[in-house]
């Protein structure tokens, strides 16, 4: 038993710092692709909802492709597939980008999460109560103002739980980057395993991933409560006839 604990401590000292370095790479990869994918998602969702087929059909095809194929296949398509057009990329001065596994993973993740997030945003926009929009129109709002002041703020609140799930899925999927030689948490773990041949390094990685996802879930739950106070679950222990506390107490800020 003591031998085992000493071995565990040795593993942690030897590979711990590299695994933590991998955590940083994972968070960078996820953070950057979520930011870029998030920026893409709103225009994409609007194009997807547009009545103009020139906007709607390409957006539909894009979302359809990236949601219908495995992320690993998308990464291979971008990272290895670009090699087939090397001459053209070199001529265009883009080869430095596609040569690098890091940029390719980032591009694949961004395009992938952009497609999923666009669907989430679309769901949010379609969930905005019609009366809100009619009321805004009646006040004379139109187009950009209507979206900025009424539709998007409500849509974001509706989309919040689904987007939280998407972020967690993205943290999990980012481990795929290790397959194209990126040393994120998963990549460092695979390296540590190939050197030590101890299964415990995979368990350490699992614990680190759990810490990331669980602490994120905690933060997100707070954010949801802050942005959607009206959705707070009523106290189930209260007598049936009593109205939910949120209706009685003054709204807290």
């Amino acid at each position: 038993m003591e031998d085992y604990l000493a071995m565990l401590a040795d593993l942690a000292v030897r590979y711990g710092p590299r695994l933590l370095g991998g955590v940083v790479v994972t968070l960078q990869l996820v953070g950057i692709s979520l930011a870029l994918g998030g920026m893409m998602s709103v225009p994409l969702a609007l194009a997807r909802l547009s009545r103009n087929p020139v906007l709607r059909l390409p957006a539909f095809a894009y979302v359809f492709f990236f949601r219908g194929t495995p992320l690993l296949a998308q990464i291979y398509l971008i990272y290895y597939g670009s090699g087939q057009f090397r001459a053209a990329f070199e001529q265009a001065g883009l080869w430095w980008f596609f040569r690098d596994a890091w940029y390719c993973a980032l591009l694949a993740f961004t395009l992938n999460t952009g497609a999923y997030t666009a669907e989430i945003v679309r769901g949010g926009i379609q969930g905005v109560p019609l009366g809100d929009i009619e009321a805004a129109r009646a006040c004379g709002m139109s187009g950009f103002t209507l979206y900025r002041r009424i539709i998007l703020p409500t849509a974001y609140r509706i989309a919040l739980p689904a987007y939280g799930n998407e972020i967690i899925l993205m943290v999990k999927s980012s481990s795929i980057a290790s397959i194209i030689t990126i040393f994120d948490l998963m990549g460092e773990t695979k390296l540590a395993f190939s050197r030590s041949f101890r299964l415990e390094v995979y368990l350490m990685a699992a614990a680190l991933y759990l810490v990331i996802t669980l602490s994120f879930e905690w933060v997100w739950a707070r954010l949801e409560r802050w942005l959607n106070p009206q959705r707070e679950a009523p106290d189930l222990k209260a007598p049936d006839l009593q109205p939910p506390a949120a209706l009685v107490e003054p709204q807290r800020q």
């Binding site: 296949a73 398509l77 057009f85 999990k172 481990s175 990331i212």
Partner: protein, 234 residues
């Protein structure tokens, strides 16, 4: 290009087709086992026993927080270590190679089970209490209530959630290519290594996955319509 994709000695069409079949086998085997895991875990959550509830919730939390790729490695290498340790107790000291197919199926079905347990739990809770009370009132024992009243209706509430999980299960099978099982993506990988046509072949692989997910979506929509055939609408 067409020669490369033809069936037979010169082309890779038959290899890709075989890979796609193995992908489907993986997906269906994981679906079957995953449904069992999901129902069992949901049962533990609804049992009212705090120990079982804690275990089931811990399982779901782990599955939702650990990357599927890591789960796959843990199962693949973990089972290898476990079997080796077990055999060494009986004096056998050789290398053991775990069957990649079943390791992959086990990992994917654990993932499916973890997520679907929440779907099933919600579906069981969606069944009106009055029906269960009525079944008790006519003297049905719990097992019979489960079989005659709960199970037939659970599918209707669970289908949309299960459909989504099935789609991500299909896409997840691609991960099994990294433990050297010749499913669709690995067959494509091999084809690219020899033909040096990466964009063409990965593009084709993507289209095959897209075809599978599209057909699945159609079937799921049919199933949902069928499961709601007796439901009155406003």
């Amino acid at each position: 290009m067409w020669e490369l994709l033809s069936f037979g000695d010169k082309g890779w069409g038959d290899d890709l087709a075989l890979g796609a079949i193995l992908t489907l086998q993986l997906a269906f085997a994981s679906l079957g086992l995953g449904l069992v895991f999901g129902l069992a875990t949901a049962g533990m959550k609804l049992s009212g026993n705090r120990v079982l509830l804690g275990l089931a919730n811990g399982f779901t939390t782990a599955i939702r927080g650990i990357p599927d790729l890591l789960t796959l490695f843990l199962i693949y290498f973990g089972s290898q270590f476990a079997i080796q340790t077990l055999l060494s107790l009986f004096g056998y000291e050789g290398q053991v190679e775990v069957n990649g197919f079943w390791a992959g199926v086990l990992a994917l079905s654990l993932v499916f089970g973890g997520y679907s347990s929440e779907v099933f739990r919600g579906a069981f809770l969606a069944i009106p209490k009055g029906q269960i009370e009525a079944a008790k009132a006519v003297g049905m024992p719990p097992a019979l209530i489960f079989r005659r009243v709960l199970l037939p209706q659970v599918w209707r509430y669970a289908l949309p959630g299960l459909g989504n999980l099935w789609l991500s299960l299909i896409k997840d099978t691609s991960l099994i290519s990294v433990i050297a099982l010749d499913e669709l993506l690995r067959k494509t990988f091999i084809a690219v290594g020899i033909t040096k046509e990466p964009f063409l072949f990965y593009g084709i692989a993507c289209l095959i996955y897209l075809a599978i997910t599209t057909v699945s979506t159609g079937v799921i929509m049919r199933l949902e319509a069928w499961s709601e055939r007796g439901v009155r609408r406003a």
